[in-house]
């Protein structure tokens, strides 16, 4: 009756029931292939089960309603201008209350099934591979943990993945049909997603929120790598843009740890090859960019990186810590919190502090905020450890 929920029942029931459930399940899979593409993520099964449950219920009610309507229309068709209706019954409170029950029950069940599936897929997963997604008119940019940026989304199979989405301009929406995955990419906030890709392969990734002229071209692909192959890909891909670097310079780039190192490295490189310096700068690990901005904007005047208390809280160990504000509110120090602290510092002053920070609204770009976030994250536990 209810393939969606039935399949969720543990297999530890009587074998007969299990068989029945399995055949129901394979029937559902067949039905599903008409409506949705093959599934390739942990999300997909959850969503397909609710979809199929609704599909079966809808089909039943549609068939019932239409069958009754057509039957009545034929059976009770008018046979002439003086024909009379066979009944003039005007109401039956009991009957009407009774037939209000099935819709109520179905609506409650459908709500529950949909909600539970949604909650399961939207909960945070520990130890997820994190990829930053940046959307802009009209392309995608995926930034991997080592700072490498790519136009395609590469993922390991069977490992939890976290995407952090933000936009440079208008609202976009990340849509991977095979994963049943969608989330708006909104400028000025960080939307987050967790999921696990379950099938090696390549899938389309589309923009599904209208964003202008080339909206229908804002498409790229997701590549799900087999076990162990993702890391190999990342190492290889990260190397490629720097491969043209002279061997010793490449070794040096790998050793970069601070903004000062980076500046020195770029200066050295620029003396020999300006173009190469530019491409190396683009590959600058975000933590190093962040550190550079930390100095340029003068954040260091009030925020230390060694845990010492100054005019403002230290950045060391700030990431992910629960903050308590003067007005009693609480918030975990995540991307959104840091962004708001920069744009509207007076809105959430941490208790025991004065709230003297000026706003940086209009002076700092979203990408710069991202870099600052990376920098602050890198100060999570110990002294600065940026880069890879």
């Amino acid at each position: 009756m209810e393939p969606g929920t039935a399949w969720a029942v543990p297999k530890a029931v009587a074998p007969g029931v299990t068989n029945m459930l399995q055949s129901t399940h394979s029937l559902c899979t067949t039905l599903a292939s008409f409506w949705v593409p093959p599934r390739a993520s942990s999300h997909a099964a959850e969503i397909d089960h609710s979809l199929l449950f609704l599909y079966v219920v809808s089909l039943f009610f549609f068939a019932l309603i239409i069958a009754l309507m057509v039957y009545f229309a034929v059976r009770y068709r008018r046979r002439g201008p003086e024909d009379q209706a066979r009944s003039q019954t005007s109401h039956s409170t009991v009957l009407e209350l009774v037939w209000a029950i099935p819709p109520i029950v179905i609506v409650l069940v459908a709500f529950y099934v949909g909600l539970m599936g949604f909650l399961r897929i939207s909960s945070a997963k520990a130890n997820a591979v994190e990829v930053k997604v940046r959307a802009y008119q009209w392309a995608w940019e995926f930034e991997y943990p080592n700072g490498y940026k790519d136009a395609q989304l590469h993922l390991p199979v069977d490992e939890p993945v976290k995407l952090v989405l933000t936009s440079d301009d208008v609202i976009h929406s990340l849509f991977i049909p095979a994963f049943r995955l969608k989330r708006d990419v909104v400028p000025g906030r960080y939307n987050k997603l967790w999921f696990t890709a379950t099938k090696v392969g390549e899938y389309p990734l589309l923009c599904s929120e209208y964003c202008g002229t080339r909206h229908s071209r804002m498409i790229t692909k997701v590549v799900v790598h087999g076990r162990g192959e993702y890391e190999a890909w990342l190492t290889e891909a990260s190397k490629a843009p720097l491969e043209a670097l002279p061997g010793p310079m490449y070794e040096k780039w790998k050793q970069l740890r601070t903004a000062e190192d980076m500046d020195a490295f770029l200066a050295e490189l620029r003396q020999s090859d300006a173009a190469m310096a530019d491409s190396a700068a683009k590959l600058e690990p975000p933590t190093i960019t962040g550190e550079r901005l930390y100095r340029r904007f003068g954040c260091y005047q009030c925020h230390s990186t060694d845990g010492s208390r100054q005019t403002g809280p230290s950045f060391q160990g700030l990431w992910n810590r629960q903050r308590v504000f003067r007005d009693g509110g609480e918030q975990r120090a995540d991307e959104d919190y840091i962004r708001r602290s920069i744009m509207d510092p007076g809105g959430q002053v941490v208790e025991t502090y004065q709230g003297v920070m000026p706003t940086y609204k209009g002076r700092v770009t979203d990408r710069q905020i991202d870099a600052l976030v990376s920098f602050i994250r890198s100060l999570e536990s110990t002294q600065s450890q940026p880069g890879q």
């Binding site: 409506w35 949705v36 593409p37 979809l51 609704l54 809808s58 009610f61 239409i66 309507m69 229309a73 009770y76 068709r77 008018r78 201008p81 003086e82 024909d83 209706a85 009944s87 003039q88 019954t89 005007s90 109401h91 039956s92 009957l95 009407e96 209000a100 819709p103 609506v107 409650l108 459908a110 709500f111 099934v113 949909g114 909600l115 949604f118 802009y136 008119q137 208008v170 609202i171 929406s173 849509f175 095979a178 969608k182 989330r183 708006d184 400028p187 000025g188 906030r189 390549e202 389309p204 589309l206 923009c207 929120e209 209208y210 202008g212 002229t213 229908s216 071209r217 692909k221 509207d344």
Partner: protein
């Protein structure tokens, strides 16, 4: 004022039809443009909204033609984006929202109530003028508006990079929608006041035809929700014109806030579209089944329930925006709740048909098609209201198919049903049933052919508002199979749209032909017991010479067929209409 003039000029005896009625009461263009007669205003609205429907239909055909093949078929991406925007703007603001209430509602609300006019005839005329002015202002955006009718920020405030968008039209269309919003509010005020104040002796609340209940519920939404749209549009103008930054993240604003404001109106607006449609269906199903409506009170209260619940479901448009899980859960639950009164109505209509004497003419065929398409539209709405499936289906063609099933399928089919039902009353002429049925068949088949494949498209991941379903990049990335599937489904959909277009042209031909060549209609050609059928066809200038006798609006007993006029009369009543 009009009514006092009218009284002295109204014939006191029942005149033969056509000769002396609201159409012939005064002559000349000015007598129309400045009329205070609700019937003439209704007819003027009808001309306006049908023109908008025609215009929006042309845009729709352009869209479908573009999507016949991959790449640029007819126009480039920028042009396409403008065309789908205009299609949405014209259809939503100029056709579907004013569609039924302002045309059939204006014409029939007072007559069905037994009143001589609406409570504020001058305000009614003002509504029409505001509608026309707003429509003209909005249409000046033709030169450049590619934001979609939803005008999402920050795209529409144009602060974003990109530069090439043609968005000259944002302020005109916003101003136009703002003005038309007032037209809608004033109509709502007028209807509510009329129903409260102008019910004649004997017309209790529960003797009102169900059409009036649904117009009342619609009026409530128009008054409560439309001002929010007005405020939102003003804020949008301030953001775009003066860089206020309320919705601009670069200035600390929030683009999602715009979506909340926008849908706070625009979701209830869906019920502004569908409630009057349900009212029509209740009238048509009962009359053409020659049977008392089943479950009057349940239907009446379900209209109010839908209006009330419909105000609190707007957040389901933002399930994937990053809105909190709690908000998502609440909005999902309330969305499901709206399904219940809708389901009750469908069951009651079926029960009305049971053991009836069902006349399968054009009005009933459209009403039955309404039940067909509205059931599909409603059930797929449950898919979208459910949080899990919504993630996958959001902003895909599934959504496009769903709301076209509800709006075109629901509202337009009901509108067609109502037009065929009341056309003889409005213009005193009968149309060719055979021609009307051919038109119906093409519209019904064409409609399903157009929109059903779009459910499948959406399920397979085709996003909305794509100028090109098979861009080169999809092939380059190796997704040939998806592109081919999209291509087949889009082709079927486009063919369906042409079938539909031919159907609507036939419908228009049949109805217009009836105006000039149609047989004179008797006062009550269908055997309906509601009050509008007791006055002549077309109705006299002030509707009723004497106060109508009000009873159960669905009491079929005593209505007998009169061979001479080929219409129905109340047994015991004179040849006239007012029952004594």
């Amino acid at each position: 004022m009009a009514t006092s003039n009218a009284q002295s000029l109204t014939p006191t005896v029942d005149a033969s039809p056509i000769r002396d009625n609201y159409l012939t009461y005064r002559r000349g263009v000015m007598s129309w443009l400045f009329t205070l007669d609700h019937k003439r205003i209704g007819v003027m609205y009808l001309v306006g909204v049908l023109f908008a429907f025609f215009l929006g239909g042309i845009f729709a055909l352009l869209i479908r033609t573009e999507l016949i093949s991959a790449g640029d078929t007819l126009m480039d991406a920028d042009m396409y984006n403008q065309v789908f925007t205009l299609h949405g703007v014209v259809m939503v603001f100029m056709f579907i929202i004013p569609g039924i209430p302002a045309t059939l509602g204006n014409f029939f609300l007072p007559i069905m109530l037994g009143a001589k006019d609406v409570a504020f005839p001058r305000l009614n005329l003002l509504s029409w003028w505001l509608f026309i002015i707003g429509a003209i202002v909005a249409l000046t955006s033709v030169v450049g508006l590619d934001t979609g009718w939803t005008l999402y920020t920050p795209y529409s405030t144009g602060t974003a990079a990109g530069g090439s968008h043609a968005m000259m039209g944002v302020i005109p269309v916003t101003a136009g929608a703002f003005i038309m919003g007032f037209s809608s509010i004033l109509t709502g005020v007028n209807f509510i006041a009329t129903i409260h104040m102008l019910r004649p002796r004997g017309m209790t609340w529960f003797r009102m035809p169900l059409m009036l209940w649904s117009l009342y519920a619609t009026g409530v939404i128009q008054i409560l929700a439309t001002p929010v749209l007005g405020i939102t549009l003003l804020l949008l103008i301030a953001d775009r014109g003066f860089g206020l930054g309320i919705f601009d993240p670069a200035k600390g604003g929030d683009p999602i806030l715009y979506q909340h404001f926008f849908w706070f109106y625009s979701h209830p607006a869906v019920y502004i579209m569908i409630l009057p449609a349900m009212g029509i269906i209740s009238e048509v199903v009962s009359t053409h089944s020659h049977k008392h409506i089943f479950g009057y009170k349940f239907i009446a209260f379900s209209s109010l329930a839908i209006a009330l619940l419909g105000m609190f479901v707007w957040g389901h448009h933002m399930f994937v925006s990053g809105q909190s899980d709690i908000a998502n859960a609440v909005f999902s639950f309330l969305t499901f709740a709206v399904a219940i009164p809708s389901a009750i109505k469908v069951f009651n209509w079926l029960a009305t048909m049971y053991k009836g004497s069902i006349d399968l003419g054009a009005p009933m065929l459209y009403a039955m098609s309404f039940i067909w398409v509205f059931t599909i539209g409603g059930l797929t709405g449950v898919f979208l209201g459910s949080l899990g499936p919504n993630i996958h289906l959001h902003d895909t063609y599934f959504v496009v198919a769903h709301f076209h099933y509800v709006m075109v399928g629901g509202t337009v089919f009901a509108f067609m049903s109502g037009l065929h039902h009341w056309w003889p009353k409005m213009f005193g002429r009968l149309y060719s049933q055979r021609g009307a049925m051919v038109g119906w068949l093409l519209v019904f088949v064409g409609f399903n052919l157009t929109f059903f494949p779009q459910f499948v498209l959406g399920g397979h991941g085709m996003p909305r508002r794509y100028h090109d379903w098979g861009p080169q990049i999809m092939r380059e990335l190796g997704f040939e199979a998806q592109v081919n599937l999209f291509g087949h489904l889009h082709l079927i959909s486009s063919i369906g749209s042409y079938v539909q277009a031919i159907g609507f042209l036939i419908v228009a031909g049949v109805l217009v032909h009836a105006l000039f060549r149609g047989r004179r209609s008797p006062d009550n050609p269908w055997g309906s017991p509601t009050l509008e059928w007791t006055c002549s066809s077309p109705p006299p200038h002030d509707n009723f010479a004497t106060a109508p006798v009000v009873g159960d609006p669905y009491d079929m007993t005593g209505l007998v067929y009169d061979r001479q006029t080929q219409g129905y009369v109340r047994r015991g009543a004179g040849a006239g209409s007012h029952g004594g």
